[in-house]
C-alpha cells in the first residue's frame, strides 16, 4: 500500500481540469439553486451545449476555436432562455422537471445516429484545440513534468488548469460582487418568498431569468473547458449524473456561499479519487482473499462514487449546511 501514490492521485484529481469543470457547474448551480432557489436538475445540459457548441463549430464547420467558444457559450445561454421563458412562470417543480428533461433530450438527439454528420452522433467528436495550446507559456517537451510524485501535470495540462482556475476565481469574484449588492438581495428574497418580492414591486420573472442565464452561462463555460481539455466531446460524458455530481459538490461545500461550490468540487474529486486509488491498491495486496480482490477488480470507480454518496449522507446528518454554510440559517426552515 503506497499512500504517496494514493494522495498524489487524489490531489491531481482535486486540482485537475475535471475539478475545474465541476466547480464551474456547481458555481452556476449555486446561482440557480443556492441564491435564487431555482431547482435546476439539468445543469449538465448547459455543459453539453458549451462543449458541443465548441467542438462542432471547429470539427464540422471548420471555424476557429475562439468562434467555437463563443458559439458554445451562446448556445448555453439560448438553452437558458428557451427553458426559462415558458417554465419560470409555472410551478417550481415543473421547472425542475423541464430542466432534467431538456438536458436528456438534447443529449439523446446529439448522440443519435441521425446526427452523425453534424455532431458525430454516438461516436465522439474531436477537433484540434491547437489555437488554445499555442498560447501555452509552459515548456511542453515530452520530458517536461510539473509537480511531485503522482501529483504531476504535463505542460499542456498545467496550461488548461491555470486558465481554468483563473476563470473560477474571476467568476467567483464576479458572483460575490453581484450577490452582495441589492440585486443579490432581490434574488435571495425570491428564494425565500417570491410573493413577498412581488408585493414590493420586484419583477420576479425577470430576476429568475437573469439568474438562469448567468448560471447557465457559467455551466456552459465549464463545457467549453471540457471540450478544450479533451479536444472533443462525447455524449456519454453528459449523462444526468453530472448534474447530481454538481449538486453533491455544492452541498458538500455549502449552498448559497461564495466559496462553497469551489471547495465542494475540489473535495468531491479528492474523495472520489482517493477512495478509488485506495481500493485499487487494496485489490493488489497479497493478503486480500481472492474473492474480495475479484469483487474489487474493475469496480473501484463505482464503489468510490458510492462512498462519496455515503460521505454526502453523513454530511447531511452531521453538518447539513455544508462545510462553509451557516448553521443558524439552516435551522430557520423549521418554522
Amino acid at each position: 500500500m503506497d499512500f504517496d501514490i494514493i494522495f498524489g492521485n487524489a490531489a491531481r484529481a482535486a486540482f485537475g481540469p475535471e475539478a475545474v469543470i465541476l466547480a464551474l457547474a456547481a458555481i452556476g448551480l449555486n446561482v440557480h439553486f443556492g441564491f435564487t432557489g431555482l431547482l435546476n436538475c439539468g445543469q449538465v445540459g448547459f455543459l453539453l451545449l458549451g462543449a458541443y457548441g465548441t467542438s462542432v463549430s471547429v470539427a464540422t464547420f471548420g471555424w476557429s476555436l475562439w468562434a467555437g467558444v463563443l458559439i458554445g457559450l451562446f448556445l448555453s445561454l439560448a438553452l437558458a432562455a428557451a427553458l426559462g421563458i415558458p417554465t419560470l412562470r409555472l410551478n417550481p417543480l415543473l421547472f425542475a422537471i423541464a430542466t432534467i428533461a431538456a438536458a436528456e433530450i438534447i443529449r439523446i438527439l446529439i448522440g443519435s445516429t441521425d446526427a452523425i454528420g453534424l455532431t458525430g452522433g454516438p461516436l465522439s467528436v474531436s477537433f484540434d484545440a491547437g489555437a488554445f495550446y499555442d498560447l501555452n507559456p509552459y515548456p511542453d517537451g515530452p520530458q517536461d513534468r510539473y509537480g511531485v510524485g503522482t501529483f504531476e501535470f504535463t505542460g499542456q495540462q498545467l496550461w488548461v488548469i491555470t486558465v481554468g482556475w483563473a476563470l473560477v476565481a474571476l467568476i467567483s469574484l464576479a458572483i460575490f460582487l453581484l450577490v452582495r449588492s441589492p440585486w443579490g438581495r432581490v434574488l435571495k428574497s425570491i428564494r425565500e418568498d417570491e410573493d413577498a418580492a412581488r408585493s414590493l414591486g420586484k419583477n420576479v420573472f425577470s430576476y429568475k431569468m437573469q439568474a438562469l442565464l448567468i448560471g447557465g452561462g457559467i455551466g456552459g463555460l465549464g463545457g467549453v473547458i471540457d471540450a478544450i481539455k479533451t479536444s472533443g466531446a462525447d455524449p456519454n460524458g453528459f449523462r444526468p449524473q453530472v448534474t447530481f455530481f454538481a449538486f453533491a459538490a455544492l452541498l458538500l461545500g455549502g449552498a448559497a456561499t461564495y466559496l462553497g461550490p469551489v471547495l465542494g468540487a475540489v473535495l468531491f474529486w479528492f474523495l472520489r479519487e482517493w477512495i478509488e486509488s485506495f481500493l485499487r491498491q487494496l485489490a493488489s495486496e497479497s493478503w486480500l482473499p481472492a474473492a474480495a480482490a475479484d469483487f474489487l477488480d474493475g469496480a473501484e470507480g463505482i464503489i468510490s462514487v458510492a462512498m462519496v454518496g455515503l460521505a454526502l449522507v453523513l454530511l447531511m446528518l452531521f453538518r447539513p449546511q455544508g462545510l462553509t454554510g451557516n448553521q443558524t440559517e439552516l435551522h430557520l426552515d423549521a418554522r
Binding site: 440585486w183 432581490v186 418568498d193 410573493d195 408585493s199 430557520l332
Partner: protein
C-alpha cells in the same frame, strides 16, 4: 374596551390620535371632505384613490367577492371589516393583482388597472401586506426592510457589481430603514435573521418593509394580529400620521376598538358584498352590520 367603543356621535373624529401625539396642523382640513360623504354602500368620494366597479370572484359555487361599486378616499384611513370568509382578503388579493377577478374593473390613482400584475401595481405605489406574514427568513431584518426601498439602482444587473454606483443610495435607504426599525421596536434585531423573530415581530417587520416602499396606498391585512397592544397602538399611530401626510391606508381588522380608534371610514363586507360603509361611529350602530358581524350583545355594550 367598552368605553373606547362609545364614541360621541357628534364628535367629528372620535379617538383619532392619542393626546401624546399631537395631530399635525393640517388635521381637520384634509379629513373634512370624507365626512360629507353619505354613509351608503358604494357612495362616491370627493377624491378617490381607488375606484372599483362590478368586481367579482368565485371559488366554485362560492361568490367570494361581489362588489358593485367601491371608492376609497385618498389620504384617509379606511377599515375593511366583516365576518370570517366575507371576502376581505380575496378583495385585497384581487386589487393588488395576486388573484385574477372573474369580471370587473378598477382604477388606482387615476389609472385604469387593465392587466393587474402585483409587481407593477406595487411600483405604482400600491403596497400590500399579507395576513400570513411573509418575512424573508434567511435575510437579516435590515435587509428585509431595505428590500422595500423603491427605485434602487443596485437592483439592476448592470450596476449591481459596481458598488460606487449604488453605495450612496444604499446608505440613505439604510438610514431610513433604521428609523423604521427604531419606530417598530426592532432596532435591536437589526442584524439578526428575520426567521428568528417572533410572530408579532414579523408582522411589524412586514409593515416596516411596506412603509419603506413609500406607498401611495398601503393595504394592511390584519396588521395587529399577534402584536402586543402597546406596540400595536404605536404602529397604528404611526400609520395615522402617515395618512395625515397624504398616504392612503386600507386595513383589515377584527378588533373593533382599533377600528373605531383610528379609521376615518369603515367598509363592511359580508358574503362578498359591501353591506355598509360610513364613519366608524355610525357603522357600529348600523343594524345590518350588527346582525352580520358585531352581534347584538356587543352592540348593546357599545351603546
Amino acid at each position: 374596551m367598552p368605553d373606547e367603543l362609545t364614541p360621541n356621535p357628534d364628535s367629528p373624529r372620535p379617538v383619532a390620535t392619542p393626546p401624546a401625539n399631537p395631530a399635525p396642523p393640517s388635521d381637520g382640513t384634509d379629513i373634512e371632505p370624507i365626512l360629507t360623504v353619505p354613509p351608503v354602500p358604494g357612495a362616491p368620494k370627493p377624491n378617490p384613490i381607488l375606484v372599483v366597479d362590478n368586481l367579482a370572484r368565485s371559488f366554485g359555487g362560492l361568490r367570494a367577492v361581489d362588489v358593485d361599486h367601491l371608492e376609497v378616499e385618498r389620504g384617509v384611513v379606511t377599515a375593511l371589516i366583516g365576518p370570517n370568509g366575507a371576502g376581505k382578503t380575496t378583495l385585497f388579493n384581487l386589487l393588488s393583482g395576486f388573484d385574477r377577478a372573474d369580471s370587473g374593473r378598477w382604477s388606482f390613482d387615476g389609472r385604469a388597472v387593465t392587466a393587474p400584475a402585483p409587481d407593477q401595481l406595487a411600483r405604482q405605489g400600491m403596497i400590500r401586506t399579507f395576513q400570513l406574514t411573509k418575512s424573508l427568513a434567511k435575510l437579516t431584518v435590515i435587509d428585509n426592510v431595505l428590500l422595500g426601498a423603491p427605485g434602487q439602482a443596485g437592483e439592476r444587473l448592470w450596476t449591481a457589481p459596481f458598488r460606487w454606483r449604488w453605495r450612496d443610495q444604499e446608505h440613505e435607504n439604510t438610514g431610513r430603514a433604521e428609523e423604521l426599525l427604531e419606530r417598530f421596536n426592532l432596532a435591536h434585531m437589526r442584524d439578526e435573521l428575520a426567521g428568528t423573530l417572533s410572530g408579532g415581530q414579523r408582522k411589524l417587520l412586514e409593515v416596516a418593509r411596506a412603509l419603506m416602499a413609500n406607498p401611495v396606498l398601503i393595504m394592511l391585512d390584519e396588521p395587529m394580529a399577534g402584536v402586543n397592544p402597546a406596540l400595536g397602538q404605536s404602529l397604528m399611530r404611526h400609520i395615522t400620521l402617515l395618512a395625515h401626510e397624504g398616504m392612503s391606508v386600507v386595513f383589515i381588522e377584527h378588533a373593533m376598538d382599533v377600528v373605531t380608534g383610528i379609521s376615518d371610514w369603515v367598509v363592511v363586507l359580508s358574503q362578498g358584498r359591501i353591506i355598509a360603509e360610513g364613519p366608524p361611529w355610525k357603522i357600529i350602530h348600523d343594524d345590518e352590520v350588527i346582525d352580520a358581524y358585531l352581534g347584538r350583545r356587543r352592540a348593546g355594550e357599545a351603546r
